[in-house]
Symmetry: C2
Subunit: 334 residues, 2 copies
Amino acid sequence: MSVTIKDIAKLANVSHTTVSRALNDSPLIKEKTKKRILQLAEQLNYIPDYHAKNLVMQKSHTIGLFFTSMEKGTSSSFLVDAIRGVNKRIDVQYNLFVRGIDDYDDFSYINNKRFDGIILMSQSDKDNAFIYNIMQKDIPIVVLNRQVDDEAVMNIISNDKEGSYNAGKYFIDSGHQRLAIIEGIHGFKSTQQRRDGFLQALIDHAVPIHQEYLVQGNYEMHSGYEAMNKLLDLPEPPTGVFCSNDDMAIGAMNAVFERNLQVPADVSIIGFDDMESARYTNPSLTTIKRPIERISMAGMEAILTLIDGKEALPHKRSIDTELIIRKSVSERSG
Amino acid sequence: MSVTIKDIAKLANVSHTTVSRALNDSPLIKEKTKKRILQLAEQLNYIPDYHAKNLVMQKSHTIGLFFTSMEKGTSSSFLVDAIRGVNKRIDVQYNLFVRGIDDYDDFSYINNKRFDGIILMSQSDKDNAFIYNIMQKDIPIVVLNRQVDDEAVMNIISNDKEGSYNAGKYFIDSGHQRLAIIEGIHGFKSTQQRRDGFLQALIDHAVPIHQEYLVQGNYEMHSGYEAMNKLLDLPEPPTGVFCSNDDMAIGAMNAVFERNLQVPADVSIIGFDDMESARYTNPSLTTIKRPIERISMAGMEAILTLIDGKEALPHKRSIDTELIIRKSVSERSG
DNA sequence: CGCCGTTTTGTTAACGTGTGCATTAAAAGG
DNA sequence: CCTTTTAATGCACACGTTAACAAAACGGCG
């Protein structure tokens, strides 16, 4: 049906090997014939058959982007930022394949024939089984978003600590002194990073830390609501509350409203993530944007160099966040 | 490296042809040897080489999911619902490929070698060029979400008219009589459908339609804000406002708040789409859920039967919406 | 002009699978 | 038990490409 290198070969009066060489920019060919053949190929609108190429070269020209799950537990903006990011950096000759790990009963048909490399956007410890399965099959892999302790795995994550530090600093720069944090699930690395960064900002700027201003949450909206209630029940409530994610920040805002208090007039709030609805809350939410898209771009770049070069890449890398200033933090004179 | 049918053939003392037949459930083989070979293949953990298969069978085992754009203009929940939907119905042997049309300068390397079929989640008239390009290349295609007039193209869209009808009906059932609509971009099919359905509900229930209650918007948040201001400036403002999408509904809510009025106590609001943040507004937004996920599931089913069967499918199909009742509509006694 | 080294081209096999046709084994019929 | 029919298997090639090796063409130099 479509035009093959043999067709071109006939028309050019050369062997198909020569055509192959011309198309692949081989040094083993005269510049003049190469030009001639390329021109002919262009004219005939030649498009290589990737299946044949794949077969002989033992490549798949496919990169897998896997998520912990495509269903529950993954927000859509997260998914989309990731997909957008990798798409921005993918090479034209590669296909992108998107799937959730939990769509598989077993991983037997994820093999190195089918994938040249895999990018895992990881959100759970449980992904480790997947990671080791892939590594054991000798498929290059890059893990994004979640820190994996194994030094051997290439890892790109967001710099949560720096982000939380900036949240604290922004509060302080805006004149706040009584600062609280609503933390995430106990034991998660992200929870600790965000706590550490925030507290470090207070320490560096000589702002006192009150034990009762550190309250536990679990990253869900309702836990933010409950935690904020605890804070507002204190004899002297904080004027600024850093929530370890946006969901809890929204819950916290609702708790404030329920007492007929105002955000940010009475309580200022900063979130973490910059999920899509942060723009739509009233007031809109000042937050730390997790650089999912940039992480994903870096992930794609990393997997591509892993695939075709043997360049020694740094195996751990973190990408800075961004403070998105909206309307949920007020200026304080004292 | 990995095990091939020839390896199996040797071990089973048959030719590779026989193995091929066993694996493909051919009738030209004795039941007993088939069993034996299948068992052996299982034991050896045989996985077929799709590149070889693709080459000889002239298939790609890849289905393309294309969006008008992966960037601006496409909300993340929309993207994700679509991806989730198709993933739920995709056959294991197929790869899913996701991309935005606007990522391409030209379509020359989208060919029938590379895609067995294409699902287009269309959001713009401009996609028609893409559609005809694909059709001309004889690649099966299904267009979702946007109506294409050409009878030849398979089309699955949401039943906006029915959805808007239900929005109107829900207002009326809740006791509202002064009902307004904020419309979308003039000339869009969706705009008209949503208007027609809504008005039909009023007509069917003998609720008067006031010209000044029909105001223009353009699907953007700010236009909803402005339109609502017009409505509130009327001597007798409506008690229920149907917004042709959620973005405008949020803008409309903000206009209400700005006048120190309450939603839903003073004005009830219904949106359309059920975007992710509809859950997070305060009060949360009652809205018509566009069945993107179900449309996508149907789309995948359709493309799969298009690919391997010649069954005559209905070429136009619409899928019903769902009324999501939240807190932005009040009960009225009169 | 003839030799040798270098550049360019061609020949052939290979990748793993499916398939038309020839071949063999088994079953049926006389 | 032999012949004919049918069922089961094997052989050889094809798919479109790359690559190792062989062959040819070219160029320089004595």
